[in-house]
């Protein structure tokens, strides 16, 4: 899945996702990606977030919406992302998932759930500082 958040020079925000979903899914299955607040969410006054992982589990917790609402009240993007992941972990300790967050001033962060085989989550950032699509990563 690709999840993307874009913030314009004037603070406008858009978010989106695209995916072909889970392998060998039952025909008709839709994951979290197209669900506003789960796959991604954006509000220009607060921030944007996008998620990836086991959509069957993640969509129930609306992680992208939670992260944006936390950024609305001033929470740092990294902390907002971590809180959204921990909210899911509380009920599904072994779930596979990650999230990216960015607020309207251009600060950003990411978080993921540590499970065997997944201890680091890569993401890409491009702004006038990086001047290129810079690959970064976060420890789960």
């Amino acid at each position: 899945t690709i999840g993307m958040v874009v913030i314009g020079r004037d603070g406008q925000i858009a978010a989106g996702t695209s995916t072909n979903g889970a392998n060998y899914k039952v025909p008709g299955r839709v994951g979290d990606s197209p669900i506003a607040g789960a796959g991604s969410y954006a509000e220009s006054a607060a921030g944007g977030a996008a998620a990836t992982g086991n959509g069957d589990v993640m969509m129930r917790f609306l992680p992208s919406y939670l992260a944006v609402e936390l950024m609305r009240i001033g929470t740092e993007p990294s902390t907002a992302c971590e809180t959204a992941i921990s909210r899911i972990k509380r009920h599904n300790p072994g779930f596979f998932g990650a999230i990216i967050c960015a607020n309207s001033t251009g600060h950003y962060g990411a978080a993921c759930n540590k499970i065997p085989g997944f201890t680091r989550f890569p993401f890409v950032v491009y702004n006038s500082q990086t001047n290129t699509p810079l690959l970064q990563s976060v420890d789960c």
């Binding site: 690709i2 999840g3 874009v6 989106g16």
Partner: protein, 179 residues
């Protein structure tokens, strides 16, 4: 130091970030940038979890989910289980811009896309067909079924409702097999 504009996206998909950034530099809106960035992954399939030719379902078909959200107007366009159309996020944007709805799914979403001028084509590839064929040979393992018979941890379907297992089947997580 935080600066604007900013593009951030999941996984190592640098081409997608580059496409989004170019859209902004060309004077496009943040919506144009998200659409262009995600479209780049749909065309290149990125790590196989985006776009055509990846993650076949139990019938071997690849179907797509996508959404786009305008953080200014709070408008959303989304498609789920989109069939035979490659440009999922553009169809999602068309849902937002050409209907009063938010989410369209399945075969009807594909017909809406064709009416909006999108090309219908087969989303399977030699790779997805061989992946699917191998899955059938492996008795359809892994799969997403539970509490059915025959035992889904051993056999393919068709399945009928079966006894509810007391403890959940332990399932290996393939981080490349998800949304």
């Amino acid at each position: 130091r935080a600066t604007l504009p900013l593009v951030i996206n999941t996984w190592e998909f640098q081409h997608a970030a580059d496409a989004a950034w170019r859209a902004l530099q060309a004077g496009g809106s943040v919506m144009d940038a998200v659409e262009k960035g995600c479209s780049r992954c749909e065309a290149e399939q990125c790590d196989g979890s985006v776009g055509f030719g990846g993650h076949p379902d139990e019938r071997g078909e690849t179907t797509l989910d996508a959404m786009i959200m305008n953080g200014n107007t709070m408008e959303v366009g989304a498609v789920g289980d989109l069939r035979r159309i490659k440009n999922a996020i553009s169809v999602a944007r068309a849902v937002m811009e050409h209907t009063e709805h938010t989410l369209l799914v399945g075969e009807s979403a594909s017909q809406f896309a064709e009416n909006m001028g999108f090309t219908a084509e087969d989303l399977t590839t030699n790779n997805s067909i061989s992946v699917f064929t191998q899955w059938l040979k492996d008795n359809c393992q892994p799969n997403n079924r539970k509490n059915v018979s025959p035992d889904p941890s051993k056999y393919c379907g068709p399945y009928k409702p079966g006894p509810t297992l007391k403890h959940r089947r332990r399932r290996e997580i393939d981080i490349h097999a998800h949304d």
